[in-house]
Symmetry: C3
Subunit: 163 residues, 3 copies
């Protein structure tokens, strides 16, 4: 089974996805953190996420090769988050492999819960990289949603089922 939680910044999508996967599992599920610690503000955010996860997850950290990380797992995996992974792939100049990898991930036999960030509902900045990022993130959301059995749009801590 594949499930997508999408929504804006601080929409509650991470907490909702965590509740969802915990209700699914008898054993500890995996938490695949894709964030690279590049600055202090990020460190702060990561710390807050880690504290909420507590002892309930087996945490893996992998900013790029998510397939290798998932293949190893014998329980459902929460991937937090796909937009950060896209960001890392762009940063490391691996843009051309983003969609092939996404396709592969969606065809893995594992139960996967994807957290994804909606970034395309505001005025686009003039910055060309930001525009490209918005395009890729939006298309990635479409691809994930196509393969997912359930898709939830999150806002104000509430999830709304869109598929």
């Amino acid at each position: 089974m594949k499930v997508l939680f999408t929504g804006g910044v601080k929409s509650g999508k991470s907490a909702l996805a965590e509740q969802y996967i915990l209700s699914l599992c008898d054993k500890k599920p995996y938490y695949l953190a894709t964030t690279e610690c590049l600055d202090e503000a990020m460190d702060q955010r990561i710390l807050i996420h880690q504290q909420r996860r507590g002892e309930q997850f087996i945490t893996l950290e992998e900013p790029l090769d998510i397939i290798a990380a998932i293949e190893f797992c014998d329980q459902p995996v929460l991937i937090e988050c796909m937009t950060m992974w896209i960001n890392n792939m762009l940063y490391h100049e691996k843009e051309e492999t983003i969609f092939p990898i996404l396709e592969q991930v969606c065809h893995l036999p594992h139960d996967l819960i994807f957290v994804h960030n909606e970034v395309g509902l505001g005025i686009l900045p003039e910055n060309a990289l930001a525009r490209k990022f918005a395009d890729i993130a939006g298309l990635a959301g479409q691809l994930l949603a196509k393969y997912c059995d359930e898709v939830y749009f999150c806002t104000a801590g509430l999830k709304q089922r869109f598929k």
Copy 2:
């Protein structure tokens, strides 16, 4: 009863919230305007809002101490809007009391209709203050939604019930 209307700029959330509270009340409800007039563009917006309200509301203006303003009310109160109040609290360096006050407001016995602005569904600007504002506004939306009996997501002048 507590009700939340959330949505983007010009999504129609204010008009929908006004219709909602008017359909609820026999007597004139209160309209708590949190906007401080800081520039002319704002004056314009405020004027448009005031004209729509017409004679149907008792208008109160309070940019910061919303609890004091609400406590005085003996009819349902529409608070327009929470994101502007957050903005004022940040501007006046009262950040650390935002969430305690929100908790208190949600525990008041009054019927309250909150208007809130979704700001987290676009590319975040690089400006650190804007990022902080987006985080706080998103978390405030979650807190309000948790306590509200009904939550509506507004877009294109239509309200969709999310709770």
Copy 3:
């Protein structure tokens, strides 16, 4: 019949609107492209859209006078997209006729499918023109939704009926 597809950048709204109108028509529907080719990145986008349309549409191109373009049509018309048309109207200093024209379009007897871009759910940029654009785009979405029989909010390639 009038139908509105609204959503963010790369939300899948164009493809969903195209599927919708094709399922509606026995004969080839019209595709009214409002985009003016102003730079190469746009050329690229237009090309991608054209390729997806293939041989299934009669394509019209009109950046400003959409009423003249529609009046000529004897089959349903997909207008792609309204926000680009608003952008063109602002660029050519025809702001004051935007809403009168929108009203007229909504009263045409034709079956019309509108594609519209949600831009008001992020942090607004400081740029005054961008703010004005967000306001006008949001109000235009409200006006279109008021006259439309069906309104779909699109995200991650999924459409959710809001009216």
